[in-house]
Subunit: 162 residues, 2 copies
DNA sequence: AAATACCCGACTGTTTTAGTTGGTTATATA
DNA sequence: TATATAACCAACTAAAACAGTCGGGTATTT
């Protein structure tokens, strides 16, 4: 179990899907704009999320991604594991001949704690996060901002588009 | 809150202190041998652990480090935070003008979850880890290994030391 | 005086992050 | 059927973090 900003990006993007994915697939460029993440980086992350069968994709215009399962059935631990690509658990099993548990003792000390963290994050679902009041507040603000941006775009179009 | 092998090293080393620190200060070279971590790297980590006032040091021969507080009063979250040097929380407050919470919304989404993880790890103390049966088993094995190593050293000395 | 062991800064090689570039392929729509 | 959209894909880059090394210092015990 590893926790970096990469996992944060993935969780944030999935949370965005859970918040906006009701009416159909969401394009990555939408998520990129709303959550301020580079589009190409999102593509890399979603490639992994798709391999892990956490999302499904629809190609072509109007396409995008949607959650592969219900938001109550997707948990934070899965998302983080999907983008962090397992990483041989610890640096054991290499040169030190750690087979049969003879050496490599530090490994056990940590992996035990790591398991606990994993169990903890497996208990937090996307719907659980969505239900939180503060998250809804943020989503609301993002929605208002989006509308404002669309409004500006329309006005530009009226003044004289390409 | 970040979770990498760096934090694992720090927690493991602190656990070693909790296990062996009863009879006096423990030298870093002892920990380096037992836990198979580079001595110089440990020095860097303990520099930070000392700044965070999680350990205190004794210089000179017979010196080393000891826990600054009781092992029931030192928690995993503190240790990890100490070596990961905070990292401006998230990448906000830089170019995007995230003051007053207007922008930088993704930040809130994540930091909320991050807080939960933090609270969770704040509930796990060193003494809590020490009390675990499997940890004691590992410590016992390490102790036996240590005795065996000392035995070999003695024999070498008898045969003809420097 | 000598050995121990903390303390400190600078340096190195490797891996991971984060992002870029430049495409190809599938598909809805006009 | 042409076009725009948006997923897909691979290779590349800059910057940071990780893990460790090196060469010194300083305090303290024996």
């Amino acid at each position: 179990m590893r926790l970096t900003t990469k996992g944060r990006y993935a969780v944030t993007a999935m949370l965005d899907l859970a918040l906006h994915g009701e009416k159909g697939p969401i394009s990555l460029s939408d998520i990129a704009q709303r959550q301020d993440i580079s589009l190409s980086y999102l593509e890399q992350l979603f490639s992994k999320l798709r391999q892990a069968e956490l999302v499904s994709s629809v190609r072509g215009p109007g396409g995008g991604y949607r959650l592969a399962r219900g938001s109550d059935d997707i948990h934070v631990a899965e998302i983080i594991d999907a983008v962090n690509e397992s990483v041989d658990a610890t640096n054991c099993g290499r040169g030190s001949g750690c087979a049969s548990g003879e050496k490599c003792l530090t490994h056990h000390l940590w992996s035990d704690l790591s398991d606990q963290i994993h169990v903890f994050l497996s208990g937090i679902s996307l719907s659980g996060l969505v239900a939180r009041a503060d998250v809804q507040q943020v989503a609301q603000r993002q929605h208002e901002k989006e509308l404002a941006a669309q409004d500006i775009e329309q006005k530009i179009e009226i003044i004289g588009g390409p």
